[in-house]
């Protein structure tokens, strides 16, 4: 989770260096899409992500109960009841809760369903913020070079010098626990990855003919940077970003597990799991299902990211 990020950076820096398909961005993407759809792994990833997106959008329709409402005092309700599914032989005298009840006698299934919204939000917002900031910094460093490059990259080195999760914990400790601060911490920790990849891409592209041509024609730096260089450097960023969503969700869950991420009663999966970890042996369903949900969402983005990388990497296309 931690060093996979750095490895990816190196990987994609290399990819950026070796890219041979930069003249016409649109056709690259069209080809890539075609190749992507030929890959079973990528399709599987898309299906999984699509599934979770649907769950998130239609959460109120799918959930059987109010995710934040404890049912204590109602008949047949015991805290941390294991799953009860009528179709699987659970006595119909008990109320049906297909993933059981949690420590406040809330319906675990409904909480996991609503938790999808939180996890997808975590993944998308942190990565969006980190990509925007990281790409801007990386583009500046790569395009202007010199002291700008030096300052930005040394700061990036300092940040990358920490194991990511530890730095995130420290940042959250400073900002105070909570989902928003956890998101911010994860974004800060991952910015340098995007900056480095962007910089590597820009360094390659700015030597290419069409950029040199624009420059010779007297286009301004900003215009060249954002009109020509940036769009072409996006390819590795898209791959890294997709995989970044996966690790952001994992890291947020890790922070939640350590008690500094999303705070109860929020149905964030890592937090839910952390609240009930003490009950592992007496109520394993409350640890098992949130963890499984995390894994399945993360898997979706990892598969898609892998597929994207393969599809966009000319070396791997036979």
């Amino acid at each position: 989770m931690i060093n996979s990020a750095r490895q990816r950076v190196l990987d994609l820096e290399k990819l950026a260096e070796e890219s041979q398909f930069l003249e016409k961005p649109t056709s690259v993407w069209r080809n890539a899409l075609r190749r992507l759809l030929r890959r079973k792994i990528a399709i599987a990833g898309l299906i999984i992500i699509g599934f979770w997106l649907l769950v998130a959008i239609f959460a109120p329709l799918i959930a059987t109960h109010d995710p934040n409402r404890g049912l204590l005092g109602q008949p047949g309700i015991t805290r941390r009841d294991p799953p009860c599914i009528y179709a699987l032989g659970c006595s119909t005298e008990k109320p049906q809760h297909i993933l059981g009840l949690d420590g406040n006698a809330r319906d675990e299934f409904s909480r996991i369903v609503y938790g999808t919204r939180i996890s997808l939000t975590i993944g998308l917002t942190t990565v969006t913020v980190a990509v925007l900031v990281g790409a801007a910094l990386g583009a500046m460093a790569g395009y202007w070079g010199g002291w700008v490059d030096n300052v930005i990259m040394r700061i990036a080195d300092v940040v990358l010098g920490f194991p990511a999760l530890l730095l995130a914990i420290a940042i959250v400790a400073v900002l105070g626990p909570g989902l928003r601060n956890a998101l911010l911490a994860i974004a800060i920790v991952t910015i340098p990855q995007y900056a480095r990849v962007m910089r590597a891409s820009v360094l390659q592209i700015k030597e290419l003919d069409f950029v040199a041509a624009s420059r010779a024609l007297g286009a301004s730096s900003w215009r060249i940077l954002f009109g020509r260089v940036v769009p072409n450097a996006l390819t590795p960023l898209v791959v890294l970003g997709t995989l970044g969503i996966a690790s952001a969700i994992l890291e947020a869950a890790g922070l939640g597990f350590l008690g500094v991420g999303a705070q109860p009663p929020s149905p964030e999966w890592g937090t839910m799991l952390s609240e009930e970890r003490n009950q592992l042996f007496s109520a394993p369903h409350l640890v098992f299902f949130p963890g499984l949900a995390i894994m399945l969402v993360v898997l979706g983005f990892n598969l898609l990211g892998d597929g994207l990388r393969d599809a966009l990497d000319p070396r791997l296309n036979d």
């Binding site: 204590l72 420590g103 626990p177 705070q263 009663p265 609240e275 003490n278 009950q279």
Partner: protein, 561 residues
């Protein structure tokens, strides 16, 4: 390339090694300096060869705010405590582990900081503290009481209740502490295990501060006192044996339950009161810290439950907010939070330990203070005779009920567990398990608690894990029996004068420390002086705060500034 990675690793290693090497040297020189200062001290203090010359420690006067005026060795085996004001709870406090006795010479030799090498008189001798993994003790064959029936005692720790229970179930441990509520049932259902209920007196309450409207209105506080279904909380979130609080202090303590019982749950009447007070449907945040305590085993779940009850029963829109423990204690103590979850576990079995801390004149945690409560408490505290104090505690309790600075919710029960084969396994009301009374039927007894001790010099520690490790080695003058009553330890008795301002403790004869030296009154004075006297050169400890000396005796002596 591999060579290069090795180089890098070696560099890290070298860094660590170099770092360690230098610090080791500096600590030795520091230690040497400390020894010289204590030697100088020894010549001024007096332990002459001929006859007994008693040590003494005394405050210049009683103006410093503390309870202790002087502690004197008035005979080889007699120590006299002179107090600034009556202290009816003196024996109960003295029996607390931080007031354990170590040899005067050892305290000097360690510069007042025997953090990992305590020498006591207890049933077990510390053999090794393997940091991060365990503490090993051997039975003290020369123990003044009955020596333990087994040879080796091992302390281990695991933060998670589930992990502790598993150690027990898998036969790796004989005794584990603090089961989670959910694990209690599985222990009860297991014939190989014995459930050991713990009856340490405690209270969990919902605090309200008048600094934060609308809690400045008495009617609002009363409505909340009536509008919470405390029975439902205790039934669902507390282990069996827990009780709904009828009074702030649990009834197992003398004089605690004088006066009327708490309000009955009545949601309708409560809503009506809120409506009459014009405070319907306000927003409130319930603050809490996510720390396991026996009085609040599941903070998050209970916070959610109370929030939901406030909304269902009273139409109050409540949200919950967890706060880092240290910050929570700071801020709630100032009375800044309008509503918060906190509790109290007894330090010693006396009603004043509960009431005086929470409802004294200096208390700020509930905003306003209530003279009709604290005036009764002050008067009761000056009386040595419990029967004479009884009506005063009744008046104080009724005033607490009338003013509702907080809502007492539960007295939590907790439970330890042991192998069914562990003879004599009991979880005592106060302090750590008394392993010298148990017999595992084999050489080794393994105990698993929540965490590793911070140090083993408990004069300067406050956490239960350190105290339980110390208790096996070091003994105070008195001790608690399994039911929470007092029993003689190093003192055969401590007797008060008429108004409980002078206490004379007579030491047991023929007690030897683990280093072979004999216990005498000067060891007692030296141990106490180190803790209570801030100007003592050996007042070093771990943090140097000697929290329990300052807190239980109101103040340390000779504090600068």
């Amino acid at each position: 390339m591999t060579r290069m990675r090795w180089l890098a690793l070696l560099a890290v290693l070298a860094l660590v090694v170099a770092a360690c090497g230098t610090t080791a040297e500096t600590t030795t020189t520091e230690a040497a300096e400390e020894t010289t200062t204590t030697e100088a001290e020894e010549t001024t203090t007096t332990e002459a060869a001929a006859g007994f010359e008693g040590l003494a420690v005394a405050a210049p006067d009683c103006e410093y705010g503390g309870k202790i005026s002087s502690i004197e060795a008035t005979g080889p085996l007699e120590v006299t405590f002179t107090l600034c004001s009556p202290a009816p709870a003196f024996p109960q406090i003295v029996a607390f582990t931080p007031f354990g006795i170590q040899p005067a010479e050892h305290l000097e030799a360690t510069g007042g900081s025997p953090l990992d090498n305590p020498i006591g008189t207890g049933p077990f001798v510390l053999e090794a503290w393997n940091r991060g993994s365990d503490i090993v003790y051997q039975a003290n064959a020369d123990y003044w009481g009955t020596p333990p029936a087994f040879q080796t005692l091992v302390f281990r720790w695991a933060t998670e209740s589930a992990a502790r229970l598993l150690e027990l179930q898998s036969g790796n441990a004989d005794y584990v502490t603090n089961l989670a509520t959910a694990d209690i049932a599985s222990v009860e259902g297991d014939a190989n295990l014995a459930l050991l209920p713990n009856l340490n007196p405690n209270v969990f309450y919902l605090g309200m501060s008048t600094n934060s409207p609308p809690f400045d209105q008495l009617e609002v506080r009363q409505a909340i006192a009536m509008g919470i279904n405390r029975q439902q909380i205790v039934d669902n979130f507390y282990p069996p044996g827990s009780e709904v609080a009828t009074h702030f202090t649990p009834c197992s303590i003398e004089n605690a339950c004088n006066g009327d019982d708490w309000y009955e749950f009545d949601a309708e009447a409560a809503s009506q009161m809120l409506a009459d007070a014009g405070a319907e449907g306000f927003d409130v945040t319930i603050y809490y810290r996510d720390v396991f305590r026996v009085y609040l085993p599941e903070p998050g779940a209970v916070a959610n439950e109370i929030a939901q009850q406030l909304s269902d029963n009273l139409g109050i829109n409540a949200t919950v907010q967890v706060v880092e423990s240290g910050e929570f204690i700071d801020v709630s103590g100032d009375g800044t939070y309008g509503m918060y979850l906190l509790g109290w576990g007894a330090d010693y079995p006396h009603v004043s330990n509960f009431t005086d801390y929470h409802f004294g004149e200096a208390t700020t945690q509930f905003g306003a203070v209530y003279p009709d409560i604290f005036e009764n408490l002050v008067e009761a505290g000056s009386l040595g005779d419990p029967a004479a104090a009884a009506p005063l505690y009744e008046a104080a309790n009724n005033a607490i009920k009338a003013n509702v600075p907080m809502v007492p919710i539960a007295h939590g029960a907790s439970a330890d567990a042991a192998l069914a084969t562990l003879e004599g396994a009991v979880s005592p009301v106060f302090g750590a398990p008394q392993f010298e009374l148990m017999n595992p039927g084999k050489d080794t007894l393994v105990f698993v608690q929540n965490a590793e001790p911070i140090s083993m010099f408990c004069a300067d520690e406050t956490d239960g894990e350190s105290l339980s490790a110390c208790q096996q080695v070091v003994e105070p003058l008195l001790g608690y029996d399994l039911e929470g009553g007092l029993k003689p330890k190093l003192a055969t008795e401590c007797t008060p004068n008429d108004d409980a301002t002078v206490w004379v403790c007579t030491l047991r004869e023929g007690v030897t420390f683990h280093d072979g030296s004999d216990l005498d009154a000067n060891d007692v004075v030296a141990s106490w002086a180190l803790g209570i006297d801030a100007s003592n050169p050996l007042h070093v400890g771990n943090t140097g705060a000697f929290e329990y000396y300052g807190y239980l005796w109101n103040s340390l002596m000779n504090v600068e500034g």
